[in-house]
Symmetry: C2
Subunit: 254 residues, 2 copies
């Protein structure tokens, strides 16, 4: 069997502890190439860089692993990796492990998951991994055996067309994790607030803040799984059409 | 009947011709407040600004319209408008008119559509408008009667929960437009390329470029409607779950 080529990226930058944990795990399963942001890119969603040029630099951060830092977003990293670094599509794309969970509508804001979705758009089996711990020193060790199993199953069985996986780990030790649940995306929302401050000239500036509140009850969500001690896996695609609304809108006679 | 409060944003900035056309049309239908980026934010997708503070400035660009420019992304504009400028949810959110079409998977990269999706997440009836003409001097006049009709129907009939509209106009004169089609999102993709150049020190940098190629044939897509001279309207939501894949993944026994 030929060795699998595994592309790894993230949104917390090449310097994050989470990508290092993912690299160490994936190295045992194939040839890993890393193309990841040179600085934190959390909250960048599916942004691409079109008004500035992009830079990539070869880096020597990970033992025995070819790696590059990129000045752009996670989606830029995926595009540059495929078209300039690898000059081919990898057999697998992994994104993460994110410092912080990406359940529910966070999938839209998340650079980690947008990289995986971009992979799916390229027809590459792609998985985003996130841990419900924002700290830079988060402990990822309990995620690793599950990541190995999910990667192996993905390589063996493949994923549906246009579909990637959104995998979230609760911040619990291995003996407290109850298992894995295949879920759907919760309809939870940020109750946004801004922290308004005054600068040295007395002019206001704003920091985005807020709490995450579930608003619309739904069965079998990723948020519920996580709250109950399960790892959530959501098959995630990029067709945003609400098909049920099409016939309603046809009656509008526009 | 109380006057409707209409929030307008875009991704081409407050200085774009497209937002001016949308403001002039919407002014006749309610009280308009504008909160839009102070510089072009195309391709920003659903990005939010979390590593820098945000600024908003009152501007006097549009006759008789309260307007603010914002240093952030289109999604930042929506959040700031609701929580700091209006201090309430508007009755309607309009985004655009974008210089350039946002059919197919462009909905993921588009700041215009991400602002509308953010509106839907806030429970606000929201519509993104785009014209298939990238030029800064594009002619939006043929879009305006259709925009008036779509706004009126949306205010009268409402939209399904969690759903906004993605409206795209072909670049044709009014007499050449064949009508409006309610569509689904095409599965078309960018064949990405990078334009590689060398800087003054001989180091490489990259500009993202490429062509848009439909890959996966589908019935009744926005891309087909536009190609055939129709205005496309896609009901767009933000549940990215591929429900059909859930039972397949359950068989993986993770």
């Amino acid at each position: 069997m030929t060795e699998k080529l595994i592309l790894i990226t993230n949104d917390d930058s090449v310097h994050a502890k989470g990508i290092r944990a993912l690299i160490e795990t994936a190295k045992l399963l194939g040839r890993v190439v890393v193309v990841a942001p040179d600085k934190p890119q959390s909250g960048m969603g599916h942004a691409i860089t079109i008004n500035h040029p992009l830079r990539i630099n070869k880096i020597d951060l990970f033992p025995d692993v070819e790696a590059y830092s990129c000045s752009g977003t996670p989606v830029d990293c995926v595009k540059l990796a495929i078209y300039e670094v690898l000059k081919r599509k990898p057999d697998l794309l992994l994104s993460g492990i994110n410092h912080g969970e990406n359940t529910s509508t966070n999938v839209l804001y998340s650079g980690t998951m947008s990289a995986a979705i971009e992979g799916a758009m390229e027809g590459i089996p792609s998985i985003g991994f996130s841990l419900a711990d924002y700290s830079s020193d988060a402990d990822f060790s309990h995620c690793l055996p599950f990541i190995t199993k999910i990667i192996n199953q993905t390589l063996n069985k493949g994923l549906a067309l246009n579909t990637c996986l959104n995998v979230n780990f609760p911040n619990l030790s291995l003996d407290k994790i109850k298992g894995v649940r295949i879920c759907n995306q919760a309809h939870a929302f940020w109750a946004d607030r801004f922290d308004k401050r005054l600068d040295q000239f007395g002019n206001p500036y704003f920091w985005l803040t807020g709490d995450f509140d579930e608003v619309i009850p739904k069965e079998n969500t990723d948020l519920d799984a996580m709250k109950n001690g399960y790892i959530s896996v959501v098959p995630t695609h990029f067709d945003l059409t609400n098909y049920q609304s099409i016939s309603i809108l046809e009656d509008w006679k526009l």
